[in-house]
Symmetry: C2
Subunit: 498 residues, 2 copies
Amino acid sequence: MTIKEAIEKLNDLERREFALHHAMGILDYDGNTVAPKLSYEPRGVTMGILAEEEYKLATGREARDVLDFLKNRTVELGETVRRRIELREKDLKEMESLSMAEYAGFATLMNEASAVWHEAKEKSDYALFAPYLEKVIDYTKLFAARVAPEKAPYDYCLDKYEEGLDSKTCDAFFSALRQRIVPLVEKVKASRQPDDAVSKVYFPVHKQRMLSDRVMAIMGLDRDRCTIGETEHPFTTDFTRNDVRITTKYKENSFLSSLYSVVHEGGHALYELGGDPAFSYTSLRGGVTMGIHESQSRFFENIIGRSRQFIELLYPDLTELCPEIGKWTAEDIFRAANRSEPSLIRTEADELTYPLHIMVRYEIEQQMINGSVNVRDLPEMWNELYRKYLGIVPSCDRDGILQDSHWSGAGIGYFPSYALGSAYGAQYLKRMEESFDFWGDVRSGDLEPIRQWLGERIWKYASLKKPAWILNNAMGEAFDPSCYLDYLEGKIKEVYGF
Amino acid sequence: MTIKEAIEKLNDLERREFALHHAMGILDYDGNTVAPKLSYEPRGVTMGILAEEEYKLATGREARDVLDFLKNRTVELGETVRRRIELREKDLKEMESLSMAEYAGFATLMNEASAVWHEAKEKSDYALFAPYLEKVIDYTKLFAARVAPEKAPYDYCLDKYEEGLDSKTCDAFFSALRQRIVPLVEKVKASRQPDDAVSKVYFPVHKQRMLSDRVMAIMGLDRDRCTIGETEHPFTTDFTRNDVRITTKYKENSFLSSLYSVVHEGGHALYELGGDPAFSYTSLRGGVTMGIHESQSRFFENIIGRSRQFIELLYPDLTELCPEIGKWTAEDIFRAANRSEPSLIRTEADELTYPLHIMVRYEIEQQMINGSVNVRDLPEMWNELYRKYLGIVPSCDRDGILQDSHWSGAGIGYFPSYALGSAYGAQYLKRMEESFDFWGDVRSGDLEPIRQWLGERIWKYASLKKPAWILNNAMGEAFDPSCYLDYLEGKIKEVYGF
């Protein structure tokens, strides 16, 4: 085998892996958006069988031969193939930690757990979901023990979503956040709140759909390559640069909720749509980690989306689609969209209290994975932590422990990415403000310079570079959470005057 | 290998085939409903690779061994396994007529041809689609020559969609239709037309979506197992009893068009939803042929859907969702929905002229497959035949040869099923009228006796029985097209008074 032949085999292998991943992804997207409820059963059968094929392909003789051959010749390889080898090895280690039957069982479980979570959330019935969560936790522990026995199991989880992250770094990060956020939250609680009646106007779903189209146009999301669907819990799925899906959930009396879902998921989509086309059908396609991913989505959602300038830009569309909104000014909407107060639902939390929602989940996940907590006791733990950090307690599990889809998809270790991503974004903002008229561009609706900046420094690399390299490349300095805290304080000052 | 072991292997094999078919079907459904335009490219890659897997599975050593083993022991097998063996042999013959590369190429072509057809139709640009149609014809001829060299190639096509059908039977059937339909069309042309202004009222899409929900409820379509999507050219996709998808296309100034799409596709869906659950994940799942399938969909669309009783039943919903409709009576809508006149679009044709649209396609397909017509000349042939049978000529190919999706999906030989299915339905009606208060039940919205009748005689058998057996079982006598012609004459009499 020559190197050229080996790379051709690698290409073919990754193309086949892409096909299985693509098919499973479309099944999953379909399942979460339009599929009829009972289709979870045939989908489970299909997912299990495709997962077996995926397993056979990735752990098979041919794949191993190519990997072994190329691993021993890294000096002769370019950067892209070297990185592909590195990523393959990591994935292989993960995959072969389970037997094929265990792996297929895991895929089937993911499908079932997702369907059951939807039902449990609808009925606010945690007992329905608990046995599935228990199995998810068992699988996660199994992966951790077999893939990274040298680590505390939760550190394995953190690294999965943000390469290189561990509890120590996370603890320090959250501790820095707590120090400045908690007193600020207390100050805000004691203040007079801006009126947010505008956020509750009746805004018909079919008009909100039109608003989504306009927002996607402003963001520069190419609709020939990116579509929007509707789901219970908004998410983004990507396959290649030519096929990215965002989703949202429309509520007739809460248009900001859907609007910010669209902007958030749109941020994820821009990252995926901006990857180097040469990486399609290889393991380099797609964003590198969830931390970097959330730094795009949270940047668009909050830093841009909740800014005065963006709301002024959107104001004519809002009042055209929903004339009642004309009773309020753009400034009123800006203040309503930035009203900060402890609330129960993470995805609808304001920027300031948002990290507290993440801390609740972080502490629970540590207990789940490192400890031996009884799954039955988790709702109580959840409620206790909400009382401790936010001073409020959900009245039902739908608004509590059942609110997020992540655990039903085995996404344990994902949540810290949201807080980290938010913090990364504030540092991008600082750099962008230094180099062009960021806010003037947002106000005029010209996001191209922003897309350029992010595209050149982050998006185009997809998974080629590790997150630490990406961050350094974008920020030109070490990550510093105080940037984020300064930003949050600035925002609160704008809204509350202190 | 014992028989029990062989059957277990057969089950496993068919389960794996189901998974690939399911994944490809969902990719296709997604591509036709919600996927972004440029996703056809990655979808093509994935479809090609999954088709290769399908080919390997069906033609592989293991599959052949099981088939050979069971084939030699048919006397020891029950009816279901015998039929599965028969269907497998037929499929295997079809599949192995192509090499794996040809087969994967065919799947890729299907995906591309569908995307190009959508674009060509949008732009009314036949030249865009022609090279793909040419390839589709080449593939069809290749299949015919290799699978059934003893037959005229188009007979192979007909048999594919209606087991046992050939040109001779088809010619006789169409000739019988022509004899009584053509003079009736002439008589209608010379008559005063009922006013159809009601069919052009502005009916907002989001209200039409609500109408679809109500119609699906009346039809008894279980929404936990059947969903509705939106597409350019409505179709139904089925996977198992637990996952059936219908689609429609909404036009704001033509609510009857979408309404009858929903009722038509809903008829297909009921057939699929009513199959014996024991057949899931085997080759017995799904309707047996397109003729039987269309006999369900056209029965619901026309015999039930365009009846005075059904329109009276739906009238309160129509006027509630679109108050302007209240300017007309149910009788006005009945007459508008049954106005008969030569028109260009098959899917919107009235019951009487509908078979003429089919005859156009039937004659073209015969030329395409048996002859050596130049693909470039097909639009002219199309227009000539429309002039001959309907007396009108489309002004653009969008309303002419590009109107139907079938050829882009290699569905050559499918069209006669629509006419046959329509005719079968009239004979079912006769039987049902004899045994219960058919029209009273439709008027009261109680379709359960109708579902029972069809379910017991047709739906539950899925692919277990051949169409001839099914028809005989349902009709209790030989198929007789004069039933259909009597029915059509009766309908025309109701509307036109002669």
